[in-house]
């Protein structure tokens, strides 16, 4: 009884995640510099990977014809949790390293981190 509900909620999350991912990829191509592109990349990681993976886990729970469906659901949920923890950490570390090594050319209005480092 609950299986069609799980299936359709999961399908909606999967397809919405695809749309979000496509929008994030467009932003990745169109945005001007690295620090703005971080915004698009984070949308692509959370809305474009975590939400669809949870949706896939719900789809697998709602489809009795898949063999070992609980294994599929559990593994995709674990992958979603790992990406949810790992992706913000990775982008933060990358932004810190890019600022520290001055790899990105940009003209900010105000940059407090650089002012603090010059002291």
């Amino acid at each position: 009884m609950i299986e069609p509900l799980l299936f359709w909620i999961g399908s909606a999350m999967f397809i919405a995640g695809g749309v979000f991912d496509f929008i994030a990829a467009l932003g990745m191509v169109r945005f001007p510099n690295f620090y703005v592109r971080l915004h698009a990349a984070t949308i692509g990681a959370i809305y474009g990977a975590v939400i669809p993976l949870i949706g896939i886990s719900l789809i697998a729970l709602g489809s009795p014809e898949i063999p070992a469906r609980y294994a599929v659901a559990g593994a995709s949920f674990v992958t979603a949790l790992i990406i949810l923890i790992v992706s913000p950490t990775g982008s933060h570390v990358l932004a810190y390293a890019a600022h520290k090594s001055r790899a990105v050319e940009w003209s900010p209005v105000v940059d407090h981190l650089e002012e603090d480092e010059e002291k």
Binding site: F14, F22, S63, S87
Partner: protein, 92 residues
Amino acid sequence: MTGYLELVVLIGAPLYVLAVVLYTFRLVRGPTIPDAVLAADCIAYDLAVFLTALALYYKTPFMIAPPIMLALWAYLLDIYVSKYLASREVGA
């Protein structure tokens, strides 16, 4: 839900493939190293979703373990490249 599973995957998967194509443009073009690493991250996460969708489409649990390794690999790439950029050594 027997017939709808393939239909849902066939509607959703091309969006991810299209996104991977656009990310690959940024990976090749990217003016700085952090841009390329960011694009590689996004490709790895997209590939994780795509592999789990393949596992649903072919109804097999064999394709379900690689996405976990892919996600952790993207994190490893972030950490090593940032360590190198920040201190000019990898120091594993």
